[in-house]
């Protein structure tokens, strides 16, 4: 499947009771591409994300990873197809050290979850450290994860997500709760990894500096539907987008 999109969705729809949260969303992410999914609160971004990751079963539509139909698969199986994810509210294993968080993902990648003989602590600590090095927190490898600051936890999540050599990274508000300088650093790191490894990245984000500074392509959702798509420049000048965001600054240079 070289050259084709790593992640595709066709006509995803989901309603909760009478509310149509997502209607007919389609998207595609190419290798090495950073795609931002934005929209005001309640636009359906998170619902869309949860359907892509298998957390939520859609009413209609298909999801394909590297050309393979994964619609309706549980998250763990989708992960095994090469999809890493980070959560809006970080989900790490607090009673493990930072290194062990990554080691467990590596062990799972190798299908060793039912190994009762070896010691998990000794498994591939060098590979884990290399990943921690890459996201810049190897100095904390021995710390209990429950003791880390929030910004560092976001980096741990990224290292975990990279453990199975993903082809797709799904990041739900990757920089929420971080200081501005940290945000830029994390997104630059992510962009670098995406380009170097040919990983397709789809992320949602509220911080417009992050979105317009790093996305190759932006998709704008409003009330469950896609209303605009294109390069940052195209999206910025889109009248419908401006109408939706009226009152909030889409323009990094200010109004």
């Amino acid at each position: 499947m070289t050259g084709g999109p790593v992640l595709e969705a066709d006509g995803l729809s989901k309603s909760f009771g009478g509310v149509q949260a997502v209607r007919g969303m389609s998207l595609a992410v190419a290798p090495g591409e950073l795609v931002a999914l934005i929209g005001p609160n309640g636009a359906g971004k998170s619902t869309c994300f949860n359907m892509l990751m298998g957390q939520l079963r859609g009413d209609a539509g298909r999801v394909r990873i590297m050309g393979e139909d994964v619609t309706g698969w549980p998250p763990r199986k989708i992960w095994r197809r090469g999809v890493g994810r980070t959560f809006q509210i970080t989900q790490i294993l607090p009673s493990f050290t930072v290194r062990e968080n990554v080691q467990l993902a590596l062990l799972s990648h190798q299908g060793k979850l039912f190994d009762v003989v070896t010691r998990a602590r000794r498994a591939q600590s060098d590979v884990a450290d290399a990943l921690l090095q890459r996201v810049g927190i190897v100095g904390f490898a021995e710390r209990a994860c429950g003791l880390l600051a929030y910004g560092d936890l976001k980096r741990v999540e990224l290292a975990i997500a990279l453990a199975n050599r993903p082809k797709v990274l799904l990041m739900d508000e990757p920089t929420a709760g971080m200081a501005p300088a940290e945000r830029i650093a994390l997104m630059e790191l992510t962009a670098g990894i995406a380009k170097a490894d040919g990983v397709g990245v789809l992320f949602t984000e509220h911080d417009m500096d992050v979105v317009f500074g790093h996305a190759d392509r932006i998709m704008v959702m409003h009330r469950g539907s896609l209303i605009a798509e294109g390069t940052p420049l195209e999206v910025r000048d889109d009248p419908e987008v401006r109408a939706v965001y009226l009152g909030s600054s889409l323009d990094p240079e200010g109004p």
């Binding site: 790490i92 294993l93 062990l107 799972s108």
Partner: protein
């Protein structure tokens, strides 16, 4: 069982017979519904599974007994005197429930669920001894209700007249509860808190009084159930546990927090019992379990229940597993050497006690693996301890196989049991898991208890002779020491393996675990099975140490002992179960000589829950950990 069952002969007698069966079922549903409704109400609002609810039911019966006699002396034996005595008994029990809430539970609402469960278990022990002290050990016959002696005849078939009262009691109480919950301010708050407790608190409702009120109401219902069934069932000291398993089944089948669900489930279970006694008298409890299993597979949260809200209560964090320091290893070696030398300095009595401690330490370590790192509070591990013991005993009785083989086969037998029970249980978590495991253990117990031809029933199985090479006490001590040390080390090692890590990941964050490819349920199921196997080994060793097995080895009390050992030792610490087993066995041994040892043990349990939540191992780690190179990081 005379009547024809063929539909061609559906004459008056047959019809009457069917009707009476249905009515008998409805009457036995009444007490079950009252107890379950109270349990469900309390759980819905406070999220506390009140294990002491069966004790409130028992107290209702005893207070009813006393008050009916007392009121009879004062006001004569008329209707008014009898029924007001029943009502007053329920009010007294309600007040006791409110008192328990205010003095004990109010202090630990923010603790993890396990703490609350253990605290209510302490209350069970205290009430058991108080009831024994107040009313004596004999079973009491209930008083007759005035003008309701004898039977009515329905199409020629007799039905005890008092059953009519019980049949009416269920719907009447359901109706009154509906009015209370839907037409009063208190009821609106209760329903709101059942849906979202935090929101009700944020709206400025005084939660303390709401919770106390709900505890009063729930305990009142249990007391009423106990008092109402007096003319039919009397009162005895075992009724607390007898009703508890049934009430749990009803609450789980009906859906926790749903009163109407509890009513439907009670009717269902009542009918099942009435017909089961008739058709398959040996299997009433087993059929109850089958219904529950079917309901839970189709609707995991019961007929009318809602999915459990997660995230309440404070999560206690474990420290990461650190490499064991040389000093700590040295300490362990010293301990093992000290144990190996025990026959030199301990007499027969001490050695027997030490054998018990070692076996229970293995049992507790197996249980801890599923409670601590697994994050699943199993209240039914006695099934596997007893399962291993009975596997060995049945092999001796029916196959005459030698001891060594039986001890080898005990763990896989227990594991097989754990595979079946675990398949159902790991679908649930939190309190649902706890209740389901407890119910399953009760089923296993009742099979052993009721199936006398095979298992010997209450008389147990005797004659488990040890092989000649371990016939002597000291030789057997070394066998136990070897097996238990090996078992405990194997369990510890398993927790530091990738398998153990994946299990712990499912507890720490199910979302993250799933997102890195871990099938949390499968991991838990496998761990549950392994834990069952080690509990089975402990059970086998225990059977051979005593030379006999009895149904007691798999009774609720054994499961609770395991929980308390884990808890005494400290849930967050791998060495906890060892300390807990030693402490509990020693404590019981010293207290048993005293008159009211249950009362003292119960009070000790409650005190530890409130004052000493990190357990013995946690305390030692904080105070002396640095001497052996370990420190507390997250746990405190």
């Amino acid at each position: 069982m005379g009547p024809h069952s063929s539909p061609r002969h559906l004459d008056k007698t047959t019809l009457g017979f069917f009707l009476v069966q249905v009515l008998t079922g409805l009457s036995s549903a009444a007490s079950l519904f009252l107890v379950a409704a109270g349990l469900s109400l309390i759980f819905g609002v406070t999220r506390v599974v009140n294990f002491a609810h069966g004790s409130f039911y028992m107290l209702g019966a005893y207070f009813g007994l006393t008050l009916v006699a007392l009121f009879g002396d004062w006001f004569g034996r008329g209707h008014l005197s009898f029924w007001s005595a029943i009502l007053c008994a329920a009010l007294v029990v309600g007040a006791i429930g409110a008192l328990v809430e205010m003095t004990i539970l109010r202090r630990i609402y923010r603790s993890p669920e396990l703490f609350q469960l253990v605290a209510t278990f302490g209350v069970i022990l205290v009430i058991q001894d108080l009831a024994l002290w107040g009313w004596g050990p004999e079973d009491k016959l209930g008083p007759r209700a005035p003008d309701l002696r004898g039977a009515v005849f329905i199409l020629g078939q007799p039905l005890p007249r008092y059953d009519l009262v019980l049949i009416a009691a269920g719907p009447v109480v359901l109706g009154l509860l509906w009015l209370l919950l839907n037409r009063t301010r208190f009821g609106i708050l209760v329903r709101a808190a059942t849906i979202d407790r935090e929101m009700v608190g944020a709206l400025g409702v005084n939660q303390a009084w709401l919770f106390t009120g709900v505890f009063f109401l729930g305990s009142f219902l249990a007391g009423l159930g106990g008092a109402l069934q007096l003319p039919k069932g009397g009162a005895d000291l075992l009724m607390d546990f007898t009703v508890l398993a049934g009430a749990f089944v009803v609450v789980v089948v009906g859906g926790m927090g749903s009163i109407t669900g509890a009513f439907l489930a009670a009717v269902l279970i009542g009918q099942l019992q009435a017909w089961g006694v008739l058709l398959l008298p040996q299997s009433t409890l087993v059929m109850m379990f089958l219904v529950m299993a079917v309901v839970l597979v189709v609707r995991p949260f019961g007929l009318l229940g809602r999915p459990e809200l997660v995230g309440h209560g404070r999560q206690m964090l474990d420290d990461p597993l650190r490499p064991t320091s040389w000093r700590f290893k040295g300490l362990v070696l010293l301990l093992v050497l000290g144990l190996a030398a025990a026959p030199l300095y301990l007499g027969t009595y001490g050695l027997v006690l030490l054998i018990d401690i070692l076996i229970l330490a293995l049992f507790a370590t197996a249980l801890h693996a599923i409670i601590g790192p697994g994050g699943l509070v199993s209240f039914g591990h006695a099934a596997f301890f007893g399962g291993g013991a009975y596997a060995a005993a049945l092999l001796v009785k029916y196959a005459g196989t030698p001891m060594a083989l039986n001890l080898v086969l005990a763990p896989p037998a227990a594991a097989l049991l754990a595979i079946v029970i675990g398949w159902f249980c790991v679908r649930l978590s939190g309190v649902y898991f706890a209740m389901l495991t407890l119910a399953f253990a009760q089923i296993v117990w009742s099979v052993v208890f009721q199936w006398g031809e095979v298992t010997g029933g209450d008389d147990g199985i005797l004659g488990l002779w040890r092989a000649p090479w371990v016939r002597g006490r000291i030789a057997y001590y070394y066998l136990v020491l070897g097996c238990c040390v090996a078992g405990i080390l194997a369990l510890r090692h398993g927790l530091s393996s990738p398998f153990g890590y994946a299990l712990r990941a499912g507890r720490d964050s199910p979302l993250r675990a799933e997102a890195i490819g871990i099938d949390v349920r499968r991991q838990q199921w496998a761990a549950f099975t392994l834990s069952g196997a080690f509990a089975g080994l402990a059970g086998g060793l225990y059977a051979y140490s005593k030379g006999s097995v009895f149904p007691n080895e798999m009774a609720i009390v054994r499961s609770f002992d395991g929980i308390i050992m884990v808890f005494f030792g400290g849930v967050q610490h791998l060495s906890g179960p060892l300390a807990g087993a030693a402490a509990l066995t020693w404590l019981k041994d010293s207290l048993l000589r005293l008159e009211m040892w249950r009362l003292l043990l119960g009070l000790a349990v409650i005190a530890i829950v409130i004052l000493f939540p990190q357990g013995i191992a946690g305390f030692l780690k904080q105070r002396f950990g640095r001497f052996v190179g370990i420190r507390s990081e997250l746990s405190s």
